[in-house]
Amino acid sequence: MILTDDEKAMLDGKEGKTRQKAIEFLVKYGTALGAERLVNTNNVGGYMIADRASYRKFGSFDALFSLTGLDSEETLEFPKVKAFSCQFETDMDPEYCDIEGKDEEDYRRFKANEEWLSKIGVQLMCTCTPYLVGNVPVKGEHCAWMESSAVVYINSVLGARTNCEGNTSTTAAMLTGKIPYWGFHTDEHRLGSHLVNVELKVEGLMEWGLLGYYIGKMVGEKVPVLDGIKIVPSRDELKQFGAATASSGGVEMYHIPGITADAHTVEEAFGGRTPAFTLKYGPEERKYAYEQLNMIGKNTDVDFVMFGCPHNSIQQVQEICDLLEGKRIKGGSSLWVLVPRAIKDLAKRNGYDKVIESAGGVLMSDTCPALGHLMPKGTRVLATNSAKQAHYLPSMMGIESWYGTTEECVNAAVTGRWEGALK
């Protein structure tokens, strides 16, 4: 790789051992990719979570994050980050230790983890959706983000430039302000590869989830271009769509010409090239996606309903509350509504926490079931409006799951029965 003078200086240890280790990793990583150089970044998002077992084992944040963040067996002391950096989710909401099965030790560890991150200058956004709470990259901005659902959102909808980074590459990027110039940082890599002719009207969170799940399954990690979208989707629909494509497949970038950031026309999205494949999305494909997402559900006795993967926006919380108001969820069932902390504050100002609590649910922040391995005790059957959680939770937690509309999920929480169907 060709390095600039400031990068060489860091590699020579002129800025200390920790930054030296960080840039050594970035050079190895860049070499693995086949990248020719690094690029400056001032917007990094990572997960530096000390889970209970790791924290017990390593005894200090520096030791743990030296290993997971810098691939270093030797414990290095972390200086302040160089790039603007934020923490994605964590593994618990400190307000709900009881429900989550967390104890005093977990609470203290969580608080200490936050303090450590704050000390090195990492913003405690604690959400998979930093773009909902103020970190909204501009078009063309070179970023280094983890979190597949956020990566596909900022690349596609906003036109920012990031690859789907990992623990080590984001930690190294925070400390150095550098990331390999490769992949979605370059114009070439952002062009479309697969054309998807969407023959149906796509409207609503569930429909966008189905479309995303189907496309991810079909294109893997390629760059799909959607043609035929007649109704401009909302931010929340695109949030759901991208998360679904990145779960069934590995989509990090897509185009909806005229709507997403990079291209105005289908031709522009392909950069004049011919699509490698052309797919269609019609009634059969929609049905296939629905069946895939519901194949793990057999038992219709739902005991857990969750909303907020990716984390809910304030509009979504409002919609849930409109459906929930005056109702009561079935005894023995649980309802979790997950949001970033900043949106929890806003929701509280609007009284939504009361609506959710009066119905028997909870408004949680900072985490999610999949990330924190958290579920109400004894959960067997989940209902969710999130394609991503419907994809992951059965594998990770050994439960059954149902995927449907927000309304179907609210009804399942109230009646304890899944009555959703593809209409």
């Binding site: 086949g34 290993l67 997971t68």
Partner: protein, 137 residues
């Protein structure tokens, strides 16, 4: 019968072992149990099989950005693959390969997914960019 494949080094080193081949992309976080190296994605063709001490031959990495973290954990738990051969490069697998510390290669002259069968004995010399396959049949 021996077959030779040429490719590009991703992470250097030499290793050999039995091949575990899949035509499906692998999800790390939520797709693999880091304690045992077992594929846990219910919809995956390798579901229930472990890549511990195998030469893992697969198209590439998909899914969450936690891919590299899970693969790093397999190394720390002693359940990592002995080597990784894959076709599609992306950031998830590049970070993952570096932190697994095992030899890894990509950009082959012929498709390893076609040439290598599960159970074949595979010798990987990533530094030289050579893979030697001894068919089990």
């Amino acid at each position: 019968m021996k077959t030779i494949l040429h490719g590009r080094m991703v992470v250097g080193g030499c290793a050999e072992g039995e091949a575990l081949v899949t035509s499906e992309m692998i999800s790390g976080w939520g797709g693999v149990d880091p304690a045992t190296g077992t594929v846990i994605e219910l919809r995956h063709e390798l579901h229930g099989q472990s890549f511990k001490d195998k030469v893992l031959v697969f198209p590439g990495a998909k899914g969450s950005s936690g891919w590299s973290g899970v693969f790093q954990s397999t190394r720390l738990n002693g359940s990592a693959p002995k080597a990784m051969l894959f076709n599609v490069m992306n950031s998830k697998i590049a970070v993952g390969a570096v932190v697994v510390h095992a030899p890894a290669m990509t950009d082959f002259d012929r498709d390893p997914l076609q040439l290598i069968k599960t159970g074949d004995w595979v010798r990987v010399d990533a530094d030289k960019g050579v893979v030697e396959i001894t068919s089990k049949d």
